[in-house]
């Protein structure tokens, strides 16, 4: 090493700060779970995304699903987004509200303000890969998405990477900061389409998202994003069906069925 290099080495060792906080194994493994969660969330989310895109698409999609079309690349045989969200063929008999010009899968949905889980699911359904970064934030509850990149509405082909910055647990505020579930449910419907597109009318038919197995907050966000009103029923599950606390174990109407927008969807939690 010459003297320049030695001085650079000295400068680096002196200047690189110590990390503001350490990582724990949980953060790493939770991310992995988040990623794998996409595969089971896809069918429900795809249905939801389609419903946002347009009523006709929703009806067609549920037909596709019931027709047993599955994506060979998904190991669980789950219907992948590509199988469900295709060809918005405007069929005049189904609905006059189809909006084939707004294709949610091409522009990045707005997920700022959602919980991390909900945002990841919304983005996964739109076909994007998600990278989560945590950052300290004093103003919002931990687990809330505080920034996204690219910005909402940016055109990005499916498969593109979307970065999320999620509020970390508040360290300065004596702990007990809000859990992810305490974030207000933010309807995502407005996010996925430009404002110029009028939403499907109240009472139009929409595919019901499958939310069994999700947390209450996520399920509510999903259902509300599609246009349902949500009722929560707390009731012990059948003894044969052990359910983790806070998880939806049953829903009516069932996921995949078609119901009118504005219909009440009932979620059962233990």
């Amino acid at each position: 090493m010459n003297s320049d290099e030695q001085r650079l080495s000295q400068l680096l060792k002196m200047s690189v700060p110590h990390p503001p906080h350490a990582l724990s194994a949980d953060q790493v493994t939770t991310r992995q779970v988040d990623r794998s969660a996409k595969s089971w969330a896809l069918p429900a989310m795809a249905a939801a995304a389609v419903a946002v895109v347009g009523v006709t698409a929703g009806v067609l999609a549920s037909n596709h699903v019931s027709g047993g079309r599955t994506d060979p690349s998904s190991p669980g045989g789950a219907p992948a987004a590509s199988a469900v969200k295709p060809t918005v063929t405007p069929s005049s008999s189904a609905s006059p509200h189809a909006t084939p010009t707004c294709r949610a899968e091409e522009s990045v949905p707005a997920v700022t303000g959602m919980t991390q889980a909900a945002a990841v699911q919304v983005l996964a359904a739109a076909g994007y890969t998600v990278t989560v970064t945590t950052a300290a934030s004093g103003q919002v509850p931990a687990g809330t998405v505080i920034a996204q990149s690219p910005a909402a509405g940016t055109r990005l082909p499916p498969g593109g990477a979307v970065g999320l910055r999620v509020a970390a647990a508040n360290r300065t505020n004596g702990g007990g900061a809000g859990a992810p579930t305490s974030a207000p449910a933010t309807p995502a419907s407005a996010a996925s389409c430009p404002a110029s597109v009028s939403p499907p009318a109240q009472g139009a038919k929409v595919a019901v998202p499958e939310v069994v197995g999700m947390t209450q907050a996520t399920a509510m966000q999903l259902a509300q994003a599609v246009g349902f009103t949500v009722t929560i029923v707390t009731m012990p599950p059948p003894a044969s069906q052990p359910v983790p606390p806070g998880t939806v174990y049953k829903q009516t109407p069932a996921g995949g069925s078609v119901a009118a927008r504005g219909t009440q969807i009932t979620l059962y939690l233990p």
Binding site: P17, P19, P20, T133
Partner: protein, 170 residues
């Protein structure tokens, strides 16, 4: 999902040094650095059964981190968010150190990711040219040329020039 027992220990021990290295790789962006380390450790975790038996699991993790960073080169958001969230200024150290650090961050952002990786491996972690080439998956010649280019840029960076050319005492 079952988690092999020592992975938590591994993360506890290695995340600090990896974060500091990632801070250099990302041009002083803690959020991006954490993202990078989390991603690299995620790779390690997925292959932990095999990695845990390796002679140097930390080298594997390090390689995963550098490669991830090099892969991220083209990502649109690497520079985009960084400007909205300025790096926290250090709470410790004298003014001189703080100014030096800010000058370093500005200078690092003028470098390419590859140049930052060479700088980090060669001069922060004191690895040899051969080790650096091995981790980055390139030739020793590339390491030399990238190091020289980076050095050339840093030598003329405002705020670092005096220090690196030895005109002021450290």
């Amino acid at each position: 999902m079952p988690q092999p027992p020592d992975f938590a220990d591994f993360v506890r021990g290695r995340s600090g040094p990896m974060l500091r290295a990632a801070w250099l790789l990302t041009g002083g962006d803690w959020a991006l650095a954490e993202d990078l380390v989390q991603t690299a450790l995620g790779e390690v975790w997925r292959r932990w059964d095999r990695v845990a038996d390796m002679a140097a699991p930390d080298a594997y993790a390090h390689r995963a981190m550098v490669n991830t960073c090099l892969r991220w080169r083209g990502r649109r958001w690497t520079g985009e968010i960084a400007s909205a969230y300025l790096p926290e200024s250090a709470a410790t150290g004298g003014f001189q150190q703080v100014e030096m650090r800010e000058a370093l961050v500005r200078a690092l952002r003028e470098l390419t990711v590859k140049q930052r990786a060479v700088i980090m491996l060669r001069y922060f972690e004191d690895r040899t040219e051969a080790e650096t080439a091995d981790i980055m998956g390139c030739s020793v010649g590339t390491v030399k040329s990238q190091a020289a280019k980076a050095m050339g840029k840093l030598r003329h960076a405002p705020g670092l020039k005096d220090f690196l050319t030895g005109e002021t005492a450290a």
